[in-house]
């Protein structure tokens, strides 16, 4: 069958792309067996570990009993979807604390034993018997953290809940991308990542400073939802005689001249005005000029092992404090 005109061009381009895709996808997978690329690891996290949640206020949860490697470290999920060991629902004689949070609390990019949850559990255990449950799930906002706690955390009858808040927790609740299957391709994830970096450089309002500050503009839906969720959590904790604390985690791009002090002051004021105990850690990190020494990788500003140690050190006395 003779092929003519533009069909010839189309077929030429399609075949070239198919050959390229096949070779590049295989080459990328080979490269990734020796290296990590942050965005590809996040796409792997979403496809291997996360599952859709029936509750739209939660959005996604961890699949139970998953074991994998992410950012070069082992990740295991217990039977209740937590990156933690197994816990009995019935409390023993230990004081029980639940940590709520996002990927930072989850311990993204650090070994389970190096995450601040484990460091704090060990340190507080030197003062009194305690067990801490890690309810951190990547990409959660405050509304999701609170909803997840109401659905899965209350049954553990905690004595205390500590919510670790990060600047992007005022985002709107994310929905799974309709193109999630594309996350299975390492090559597509790689080009998506490069496109995001380019967009943040050339389009206005897309740098981390502009984006995060924009979440707190007057009337921003995500921040309003976060405030409602804080109040819902406070009321639930009061009804169940559970102590509630919030720790504000620093953003690690610029600690010498912290760009989000105004936003963190606003969050602290809101929490204080509503009777919620709060500790802002950003001030403790001010001496660190070379922030990237605290990053998991040059392309991943999540806190690394050192930063987790600092978070644990700076919040130890606050979290170890017991009410009454």
């Amino acid at each position: 069958m003779p092929i003519t005109g533009r069909y010839k061009v189309f077929l030429f381009l399609a075949l070239s792309l198919a050959v390229f895709f096949l070779i590049a996808e295989l080459a990328m997978r080979l490269y990734l067996s020796f290296h990590t690329i942050y965005d590809i690891e996040m796409a792997r996290y979403a496809t291997i570990v996360k599952a859709h949640a029936s509750n739209p206020r939660i959005g996604h949860v961890h699949k139970p009993n998953v074991k994998t490697q992410l950012m070069g470290v082992a990740v295991r999920i217990n039977s209740d979807g937590l990156r933690d060991r197994e816990f009995f629902l019935r409390k023993n004689n230990k004081y029980r604390i639940i940590f709520l949070g996002d990927s930072i609390t989850f311990g993204w990019g650090v070994k389970e034993e190096d995450a601040f949850k484990n460091i704090l559990e060990e340190s507080i255990n030197r003062r009194y018997p305690v067990e801490i449950l890690n309810f951190g799930v990547g990409n959660y906002n405050t509304e999701q953290e609170v909803s997840f706690f109401l659905e899965r955390g209350l049954k553990y009858s905690p004595d205390k809940v500590v919510l670790f808040y990060f600047i992007n927790d005022a985002e709107k609740t994310p929905r799974r991308s309709p193109f999630w299957l594309l996350g299975e391709s390492r090559l597509i994830s790689f080009y998506w990542s490069k496109a995001q970096s380019l967009i943040s450089r050339i389009l206005p309002g897309r740098t981390y400073k502009e984006y995060y500050s924009g979440l707190y503009k007057a009337g921003a839906e995500g921040w309003l939802n976060a405030k409602k969720a804080f109040l819902e959590l406070r009321n639930t904790c009061q009804e169940n005689m559970v102590q509630l604390q919030v720790v504000l985690l620093p953003e690690l791009h610029d600690l010498s001249d912290y760009p989000f002090q105004k936003e963190y002051n606003e969050i602290s004021s809101f929490l204080g005005d509503n009777g919620i105990d709060c500790l802002d850690l950003s001030g403790f990190f001010k001496g660190y000029m070379d922030c990237r020494k605290l990053w998991v990788a040059p392309d991943d500003p999540h806190p690394n092992k050192k930063a987790h140690e600092l978070i644990a050190d700076y919040s130890l006395d606050f979290i170890a404090m017991r009410q009454g």
Binding site: M1, F20, I23, N139, Y212
Partner: protein
């Protein structure tokens, strides 16, 4: 169809190789400081 393949075989391989080289360069060349917020491809 046979004519098409015999004519375009080399061109298809060359274009695929060019795209491959661009990808390798994107991996190797430093991309500068990460200045973007946490954004996610799937969730």
């Amino acid at each position: 169809m046979k004519d098409f393949f015999s004519m375009y075989k080399t061109k298809i391989v060359v274009l695929a190789l060019i795209l491959l080289i661009i990808t390798i360069l994107l991996i190797i060349l430093p991309s500068g400081p990460q200045n973007r917020p946490f954004v996610y491809q799937i969730y």
